[in-house]
Amino acid sequence: MIGLSSYLVLAALVFSIGLFGVLTRRNAVGILLGIELMLNAVNINLVAFARFHGDLTGLIFTLFTISITVAEVAVGLAIVIAIFRVRRTVEADRLDLLRG
């Protein structure tokens, strides 16, 4: 039997990998992938707590999260494509129009 803490450690690892990806990837698509990883780490947490506490709310909540994530990815990819059309690049380092 695998304990709750193992799931939590896994979720934390996935979250950290996602955060690392968001912070270091220079490609905007890669950053979106990182965000996906972070969200899925949260999903793992929710499912694990639902399973061990015997509370179905966490599962239902996870279904919502997944669907919203799908919408988010669709919007995010659309933004990336729009940026590419205008700037001819998706390099995050060069998207610094807001520089002071």
Partner: protein, 595 residues
């Protein structure tokens, strides 16, 4: 009623622009008030009505209201009468003005009459002060009526500021008196004065401060310098405000507050000395002045000195009597002088001459006014002036008495000097002087008749009034007047005495009087040296010190902003990195906190 006229004229623009219509409205308002005042006077109504003004826990702090007693009755009649005649006269005098300007003139006139009536009727110091300032404002507006002329504008500002100097003392005195007694009301103050509960320490200082207000308003030495300059205004204004009514407000106030002043004899002595000195000083200046209106202005200052001296000598009824008679004949003189100026087009008496033939009416009324001012029986001026002299003599103030006697001599001299130079002798005027229109002649004759009638009435009723004066006084004062007359006649009519020789004999005095004893220059110097210097210092501090601090602050902010701008890379990842790092720090901090 004049207030209603003022509001109407101030608010309804088209009415003001009609000019003559505005004048008619204003005159109608004054006629109604005059009739009302006359009625109150003949019925001898006495009463007081007040309404609360500034509410407070223990009853209103200040009240507004109406106080009618014999003093204000007579003053009411004088104010409304003179303003009525002056407003009628102005209709002709200012007929060359544009209608809009004429409307403005009558607007101010209405406001002035309203304020003056409010001042006369005031039952307490506070209301008196409010109206006191209002008449000052009207005086400023009317002196500067021809505001296109720099001299008029400057004179208006000068009059305003110099009277303000006195008013500062006035309001400080009022407030001090209030904080000591808790009331502004005359009636309550007089009660306290009577049962001796008002003997507070510093009362002399308070009354002196209040007197300062009268010094400014009634053009007493050393604040008299504004009145001659105020002659830049239209002549009817000079007749109304600067001879008959507003300048006498100071005397009226001292007379009104007489029970209070009576408690502080030392202040009264100061008032008497200052008044007598003012009278003499102004009379000497009038002797060398060549401008007909300025001569009259100095003579007004001089007569105000008379009134103040009488009030200071404890003979305030005499002073008040002189105020009334002076209001009549000085308004007469000013209006007649206005008619002369209107006809000749100059103020300089030595460029007039031989006008008696051209304008006999004006000349006759002017001579009547002059005789009254010089104190020749049976005209009004004789009795009031004699009452003043008698009062001062009774108070054993020998110094002021001698000064006033000398002033009486000089008064006759300078007034007849004007008469001879203007109406007799060779004709100088280039143009064709003509008699004034009847609209101007009418008021002149009414005032002249009143001057004579008042004198006769005083002669009939006044026998017992000044029996306390020594018997040699009437012949003495008449003798002084006659001597002045003869002197003027000899110098300016016969040419028996050459004026230039006299001037050279009295050279230092002549020099000083022509330079107005250097007082104007002194004030100008003070103003330039002290006030402007002070303003410059303040300006320097403001520019380099206060502004410097602000400039340093802004420069600091700008530089800090420049530095901090570098943090904004514009890269979304940097911001996310910052957020993540911040959350991490929060975690670490929360862990440490729990321990």
């Amino acid at each position: 009623m004049p207030f209603a006229a003022f509001v109407l004229l101030a608010v309804v623009g088209p009415l003001r622009r009609t000019g003559r219509g505005a004048g008619a409205l204003s005159i109608a308002a004054v006629v109604i008030s005059f009739v009302a005042a006359l009625r109150i006077w003949t019925l001898g109504l006495v009463g007081e009505r007040t309404w609360g003004w500034i509410p407070a826990d223990g009853g209103p702090i200040a009240t507004v209201g109406v106080l009618v007693d014999p003093l204000s009755n007579v003053m009411l009649v004088l104010v409304t009468l003179v303003s009525l005649l002056v407003q009628i006269y102005s209709l002709a005098y200012l007929s060359d003005e544009r209608p809009a300007a004429l409307g403005r003139y009558y607007t101010y006139q209405s406001l002035f009459v309203f304020s003056m009536l409010g001042l006369v009727l005031a039952p307490g110091f506070l209301q008196m002060f409010v109206f006191w300032e209002l008449v000052g404002l009207c005086s400023y507006l009317l002196i500067g009526f021809w505001y296109e002329r720099p001299a008029a504008a400057r004179a208006a500002v000068k009059a305003f500021w110099i009277t303000k100097l006195g008013d500062v003392g006035f309001i400080i005195g009022i407030v001090l008196l209030w904080s000591a007694t808790g009331t502004f009301e005359f009636s309550e103050l007089f009660e306290k004065a009577q049962d001796q509960t008002l003997m507070i320490p510093g009362l002399a200082t308070i009354m002196f401060l209040i007197y300062l207000g009268a010094v400014g308003k009634s053009a007493q030495f050393p604040l008299h310098v504004w009145l001659p300059d105020a002659m830049e205004g239209p002549t009817p204004v000079s007749a109304l405000i600067h001879a008959a009514t507003m300048v006498t407000a100071g005397v009226f106030m001292v007379t009104r507050a007489e029970p209070l002043f009576a408690l502080v004899p030392e202040v009264l002595t100061v008032i008497a000395w200052v008044g007598a000195f003012t009278a003499l000083l102004a009379a000497t200046m009038a002797c060398v002045e060549g401008d007909i209106k300025r001569v009259l202005a100095y003579s007004t200052v001089s007569q105000l000195g008379y009134m103040m001296a009488a009030a200071g000598a404890g003979a305030s009824p005499a002073g008040f009597l002189h105020l009334l008679t002076h209001g009549l004949f000085k308004a007469l003189l000013f209006l007649a002088a206005g008619a002369v100026i209107h006809a000749v087009g100059t103020n300089d008496i030595f460029r007039m001459g031989g006008l008696f033939r051209a304008m006999p009416h004006t000349a006759i009324v002017f001579v009547i006014g002059t005789l009254a001012l010089a104190g020749v029986p049976p005209l009004a001026g004789f009795y009031s002036k004699e009452a003043v002299l008698g009062g001062v003599w009774e108070a054993h103030l020998t110094g002021p008495f001698l000064m006033l006697a000398l002033t009486a001599l000089l008064t006759a001299f300078y007034m007849f000097r004007v008469v001879f130079a203007t109406f007799f002798g060779r004709a100088h005027a280039g143009g064709h002087p003509h008699e004034a229109p009847w609209l101007m002649r009418g008021p002149l004759w009414i005032l002249a008749a009143l001057t004579i009638l008042a004198g006769i009435r005083l002669a009939l009723s006044g026998a017992e009034a000044h029996d306390e004066a020594p018997a040699w006084l009437p012949p003495f004062s008449v003798g002084l007047a006659l001597f002045g007359f003869v002197l003027a006649w000899a110098m300016y009519q016969r040419g028996a005495i050459d004026p230039a020789r006299v001037a050279s004999v009295l050279a230092p005095l002549d020099y000083l009087a022509r330079r107005r004893y250097g007082l104007d220059a002194l004030y100008a110097g003070l103003y330039r040296g002290f006030i402007l210097g002070f303003s410059r210092l303040i300006g320097w501090i403001d520019r380099y010190f206060v502004d410097g601090i602000l400039n340093a602050l802004t420069a600091l902010t700008l530089r800090a902003g420049d530095r901090l701008r570098g943090m904004q890379s514009g890269r979304a990842q940097d911001y996310v990195y910052g957020v993540a790092f911040g959350v991490l720090l929060l975690f670490v901090w929360a862990q440490l906190w729990r321990r």
